[in-house]
């Protein structure tokens, strides 16, 4: 079984790094043969979510235990949930820490292993987070359903046929255009798209609308530019618009071909 030790340097004589998430290296070592591999820690720069990167690295190296000075409760939870034993409060050289671990010398103050969570606790947490996600989704969803009710009552099929005249190309363009401007959870686009279909709007328009709703975000464009750069954001959104058009034509043609 391999173990991971947070380390200040690339060799076994280096000191154990005291903070797992931002330790410069992880030394992956076989305690029996002392063969080791030193891996730079992607979270070493200490940016946001640095700990998650280090946890991912440890899990991907398939280690059975982690030896370090300190790590966050979240990192501890992910590691132990993946069956990895975690020992904190470790000091001194990496080789000494590994030797202590191999000889099972764990002074009570430095040994810490978290028991796996009980199934009931995990289930309750999953229900709680789903409840929160649902509670976040519901107000807008109910608002959309109420608005669609008004729409069904006041917007006539004749008016809709002015916006979506039944021409495949124009309908697709309009659908993709509306979908690009509006943005929220996709569940809302299904309700709007489904009701538009009932009102006689073509499947071309609805398909382009559904695809654009999720893949293109004019409202979110400033956030995408800030995060991923202007060039990337503009090119990706432009390509996605063309993609919505293509997907709409291909999907509708295939769908009607299947239905005969």
């Amino acid at each position: 079984m391999k173990i991971a030790v947070s380390s200040e340097d690339l060799n076994l004589e280096a000191r154990v790094a005291q903070r797992f998430g931002i330790s410069p290296y992880l030394i992956i070592v076989d305690p029996e043969t002392m063969e080791f591999e030193a891996v730079p820690n992607p979270g070493a720069a200490g940016q946001r979510a640095a700990g998650v990167q280090t946890v991912v690295l440890a899990i991907s190296k398939e280690v059975g235990a982690v030896l370090t000075g300190y790590l966050s409760p979240t990192a501890m939870k992910y590691l132990t949930n993946n069956g990895i034993e975690v020992i904190t409060g470790v000091k001194g050289a990496v080789s000494e820490a590994v030797a202590l671990y191999r000889n099972q010398i764990h002074p009570a103050t430095i040994h810490r292993k978290v028991k796996p969570e009980r199934t009931r606790t995990i289930l309750i947490r999953a229900f709680n987070s789903t409840g929160k996600q649902f509670a976040n989704l519901l107000p807008i969803f109910v608002g959309v359903v109420l608005l669609v009710g008004l729409f069904n009552t006041f917007i006539s099929k004749e008016l809709l046929s002015l916006i979506f005249p039944g021409n495949a190309l124009l309908d697709t363009l309009c659908g993709a255009g509306f979908g690009s401007i509006l943005a929220s959870n996709p569940i809302n686009s299904y309700v709007i798209g489904g009701e538009l279909l009932k009102q006689g709007v073509s499947l071309f328009a609805v398909t382009a609308f559904l695809t654009a709703w999720v893949t293109i975000g004019l409202v979110q464009l400033p956030a995408e530019i800030a995060a991923l750069g202007k060039k990337f954001a503009l090119i990706r959104n432009a390509l996605s618009f063309a993609l919505c058009m293509a997907i709409s034509f291909l999907t509708v043609a295939t769908y009607y071909a299947i239905l005969g």
């Binding site: 976040n136 107000p139 669609v148 069904n152 996709p186 569940i187 559904l210």
Partner: protein, 177 residues
């Protein structure tokens, strides 16, 4: 002390986001109020139409809730980060597509993580594949099928996944990593 402050900040952000979520339905209710004053019969008709939509969506909505619980049980952000690492080649593309499909929550919540991943070497094309595959939402399939039918949903899903690969390929050509 620092963690208590962080906790307080998180709670106040959640409260703000909850209030922001209420603005839109609040505005719709104001419109209903106005319609009710001007034309009560049509307001009742609109409300009846909305109630009908909600009633029809009860069963699909409970299925959505069940699938979301299952995804929360078995999928953690740590898995998605693993999928979206700086892998290259076809494996990286498949993993990015899977990460996009199983990712939940609003897109802006993912931007900081995507930026970080790119700084660590994830390719632009893979990030584009991830973003395009967010259109495929397994937990919302019951609603989609209720409205649009199973055959249509399968065809659209397959073309969306194929299209995402095309966007990834073109992004790769147009933007040099």
């Amino acid at each position: 002390m620092i963690s208590m402050k962080a906790k307080k900040d998180e709670i106040s952000t959640q409260k703000r986001s909850w209030f922001r979520n209420l603005i839109f339905p609040g505005c719709v209710l104001v419109i209903y109020g106005m319609v009710l004053v001007i034309s009560p019969a049509e307001a009742a008709m609109a409300f009846g139409s909305s109630a009908g939509i909600l009633f029809n969506l009860m069963l699909p909505l409970s299925l959505v809730f069940t699938i979301m619980v299952l995804m929360n049980l078995f999928l953690k952000p740590v898995h998605i980060v693993r999928f979206l690492g700086p892998e290259s080649g076809s494996k990286g593309i498949v993993l990015s597509a899977v990460a996009g499909i199983i990712s939940m929550g609003p897109i802006y919540a993912w931007y900081p993580l995507l930026r970080e991943l790119r700084e660590k070497g994830a390719k632009n094309s893979l990030i584009a594949v991830f973003l395009a595959n967010r259109a495929v939402k397994p937990f919302l399939l019951p609603i989609m099928i209720a409205y649009l039918g199973g055959v249509y949903v399968v065809v659209l899903t397959l073309f969306t996944i194929a299209g995402s690969l095309a966007v990834g390929y073109l992004v790769n050509i147009l933007i040099k990593d």
